[in-house]
């Protein structure tokens, strides 16, 4: 069973931060949406009242900020490696995106060898970084300023919509898409199979093995 060999992907600190961010983000999205639209109004009793939901919104915001600050303090090198990769969009990433529509509907397709992150993951990371930072900044203004610049209201709502729309795609790919959902193991146990690594992150595979040789 050589193909079952496992490879380390994410450290515990990063995984904890990812799930803390995910839980806070979903909580913030739901409680914030209650002010934004009416589609989730049936959830209001869960929080007691709309006022209650806005208190939960602020508590979750604190956890979201912790989820961002924690890995920055504990694993700065892993974070900066991630940022380096994400802000380095290559040819291979662009080619990945061409094959992405097929992957999105669950059809396996040859993709050019990808690094630690593929082109899609990079775009998702970029969107989440920009939206996360913008939501924290605008959210803190709305929360703490007695007279926030009024642009913060539309900005907060816009970043929420973009962040949520892309998070929906991210969650689907990670949980429900039959050809990419193995990657979730990397975020749960911290490991993925070497087989999956070879097939989906060819360049990373090569980098790891070159080092060993």
């Amino acid at each position: 069973m050589s193909s079952k060999r496992m490879v380390k992907r994410f450290s515990a600190a990063v995984r904890v931060s990812h799930w803390l961010y995910a839980a806070s983000f979903i909580t913030l999205a739901v409680t914030g949406y209650l002010q934004f639209g009416s589609a989730l109004d049936w959830m209001i009793p869960l929080f007691g009242s709309l006022e209650g939901a806005m208190v939960v919104h602020r508590v979750a915001a604190v956890f979201l900020i912790i989820a961002v600050v924690l890995p920055l303090l504990m694993r700065p090198r892993e974070v900066s490696a991630w940022l380096n990769e994400v802000f380095n969009f290559s040819r291979a990433d662009a080619d990945f995106l061409k094959a992405f529509p097929a992957k999105f509907v669950g059809v396996k397709k040859e993709i050019p060898p990808q690094g630690f992150y593929n082109g899609g993951e990079k775009i998702n990371s970029l969107i989440q970084i920009i939206c996360g930072a913008g939501l924290i900044i605008s959210g803190l203004f709305l929360w703490l300023s007695a007279a926030p610049p009024t642009i913060m209201y539309p900005l907060h709502a816009l970043l929420m919509a973009i962040g949520v729309a892309s998070a929906i795609g991210h969650i689907y790919l990670a949980l429900l898409n039959p050809i990419s959902n193995e990657a979730i193991g990397g975020m749960i146990s911290g490991e993925i199979s070497e087989q999956y690594m070879k097939e989906n992150h060819g360049r990373w595979y090569e980098q790891v093995y070159k080092k060993r040789v």
């Binding site: 193909s3 079952k4 002010q35 934004f36 639209g37 589609a39 009242s49 709309l50 006022e51 806005m54 999105f104 509907v105 669950g106 059809v107 007279a147 926030p148 009024t150 642009i151 209201y153 539309p154 709502a157 816009l158 929420m160 919509a161 973009i162 949520v164 729309a165 892309s166 929906i168 795609g169 689907y172 429900l176 898409n177 039959p178 050809i179 193995e182 199979s193 087989q195 999956y196």
Partner: protein
């Protein structure tokens, strides 16, 4: 019912503060003793329990001489009300008679209305988590009475009637006022689509703490008319696209499963390997 309005003629107002008292009395708001403000003004600002007050503005003339300006501050019950548009929970409604009325149960005290009122009127009671402001004596006027502040005003500086009557009366009052104050003007008849308070001001609005050309910040329209529909569309589109992709991917997986029965190393086998 037609739109109602108050004409507030500052050239006749004597700053007696009778309206301030009768508003408290009718609306059963407790009296509050404020700290000395450094002028004749009674309190520093409107408050959750103070829905109208006379505001004083001192002006030092070039010769060193002091000029006193004062104005009854109150909710204008705007035709294009920023507070109402900003409210996330329908806690403000426009009544047929023009009142911008609060719905107490719906108010969550978030204060968005405060940020988008061009006249700085709404005040949030932080303990009760409710916004408070002038009700236009909705209980009185919907029963054919005039607002408490208008009823009490001795020099008839506050007059109540239909908006059209008040708009016409403004011309008459202006002509009288200009004899004494040549710089007099009408404020609120054309501003923001017509306010529910039409002032006769003896001088420029700035001297009375009023914006020269009040407008709603463009960020309010951007937020409610652009970002909200766009955001809902975007989230809806994302849900629809992933939902569709999910169904297609399941069908593809089923097909692979079928063929996996025929050949080893097919989809099923791979799934087991991956684990």
């Amino acid at each position: 019912m037609s739109r109602m309005a108050r004409l507030i003629d500052i050239t006749r107002c004597t700053a007696c503060r009778g309206c301030q008292v009768s508003c408290k009395r009718w609306n059963q708001l407790a009296g509050e003793i404020g700290a000395f403000t450094g002028s004749y003004q009674s309190h520093d600002d409107l408050s959750p329990g103070r829905w109208t007050m006379i505001k004083f503005y001192e002006e030092k003339k070039p010769g060193g001489e002091m000029a006193w300006h004062f104005r009854k501050a109150t909710c204008m019950h705007c035709a294009d009300a920023g507070c109402l548009k900003a409210c996330p929970n329908e806690a403000l409604v426009r009544e047929e008679n023009g009142t911008i009325r609060r719905i107490e149960e719906n108010c969550i005290g978030c204060g968005h209305c405060v940020q988008f009122c061009p006249f700085d009127i709404p005040k949030v009671d932080e303990v009760a988590q409710k916004m408070k402001k002038c009700t236009f004596c909705y209980d009185r006027i919907s029963n054919g009475r005039e607002p408490a502040c208008a009823k009490t005003c001795v020099p008839r500086a506050i007059v109540y009637g239909t908006w059209d009557e008040m708009a016409a009366l403004a011309d008459e009052r202006l002509a009288q006022a200009q004899k004494l104050y040549p710089d007099s003007r009408i404020y609120g008849r054309d501003e923001l689509g017509g306010l529910g308070v039409i002032y006769i001001l003896p001088d420029t609005p700035a001297k009375y703490g009023l914006p020269e050309d009040p407008s709603l910040p463009f960020t309010l329209g951007l937020w409610k008319d652009v970002v909200h529909p766009f955001g809902k569309g975007l989230i809806g589109a994302s849900l629809a696209a992933t939902g569709l992709a999910f169904i297609i991917s399941r069908r593809n997986a089923m097909k692979l499963k079928e063929s996996a029965k025929l050949e080893e190393g097919g989809y099923d086998d791979e799934q087991q390997k991956n684990g």
